[in-house]
Symmetry: D2
Subunit: 123 residues, 4 copies
Amino acid sequence: MDVNEKYFSNITTRERAIFEGAISMGALFHQFVGTPINKNTKEGLERAMEESLSLQPAIEKVEVNIRFDKLAESMTEFDYTSLTGDMLDVRIHTKVEDISAIIRIEFIEELNYPLMYVEDIKD
Amino acid sequence: MDVNEKYFSNITTRERAIFEGAISMGALFHQFVGTPINKNTKEGLERAMEESLSLQPAIEKVEVNIRFDKLAESMTEFDYTSLTGDMLDVRIHTKVEDISAIIRIEFIEELNYPLMYVEDIKD
Amino acid sequence: MDVNEKYFSNITTRERAIFEGAISMGALFHQFVGTPINKNTKEGLERAMEESLSLQPAIEKVEVNIRFDKLAESMTEFDYTSLTGDMLDVRIHTKVEDISAIIRIEFIEELNYPLMYVEDIKD
Amino acid sequence: MDVNEKYFSNITTRERAIFEGAISMGALFHQFVGTPINKNTKEGLERAMEESLSLQPAIEKVEVNIRFDKLAESMTEFDYTSLTGDMLDVRIHTKVEDISAIIRIEFIEELNYPLMYVEDIKD
């Protein structure tokens, strides 16, 4: 079976690059929010998040930065906290044929919301 | 702040309808996979999944069907199992201005994979 | 196979009642934190959480209350937020033979931490 | 506030060692099940799981082994799969005062179930 032919011929290459990155961003957020974390485990978790999401279709690279300021703000008496959406600053790079897209999540103070959007897309 | 103007003016209405549905499909999968379930709790969980994902931007309606055959296949000695991706048959309907899209997940035996794709999109 | 004989003969009935409730409390937190929620979907999600965790071994009843004050505090421009640990006020009731235990989670301001503990245990 | 005095004086040291390990085992399962994984990312994910759960109260060490045979069985056309409970072989070591406990999860074929139990406990 040609998966692309059968399931993706109704959308453009640009739309596919956006589609795959958006799936992976939704996945990343809802898979990892809640994970126990502190400053010592921050880097290891960032790498594991990057590696796992990079396995999904059309994903070229994932850059995860867990915001240290937000991490510090929510610290508990037990010297760790749970990962929350406002700590996430992530770029997911997708490539489909000649189209490259970057899907971004970042916390927007004005909205009190971790916004996902298409930061860049080009051929 | 006009969020649409500031963050989404670089993509088309069609692309936005695809983008928002794809995020919510990735979210649904990774939020709920692992949940304890059996035939008695199937409907309640389907409704909770539908309601929670319907809150996200541009989502008009969510239809979740947890496949009973796959649920039965994985049943344990303790009369429940964990929700897995191959049980999911879901349609997420998005609407952005005059564009309506349906994002689908269904398990494709030939790929041994729960595939997410754009089932329909129109204006 | 007698599961209790083979795997649980090294602990007391009291310990088993605590063990099973603690597993389910850890499960509840890490399964559902991150779920999109607002005041309209609060009750449906509470019921789905209760039903799913009630399936696990030795669980008699689960009472989930999502704190409305904490939910309101974290509300976003998009009229929903993500479930966090500080919103959780939950009691899990277990019963093993003649022993009944209640495992509780509640947010303790002084610790800035959603503490899990054994609220009550008796025969 | 003395947390131990206020919240844990109703259970024994042995019960506390079991309680804390059981919470973390339930947490581990429900936090990470669903994560994209293949043989190349297996080790990084194992380490991230170990590090994150080691942050929780009373946890001395966590040993995560993701079963390669189960991983291979569920492999998809896209060269990755989702982490499931039957892949998990984990030991969580807890210590409370003079008591050491090991909480284990392993998949038991006869039950078709990833069983959590107290593998060892001693002073």
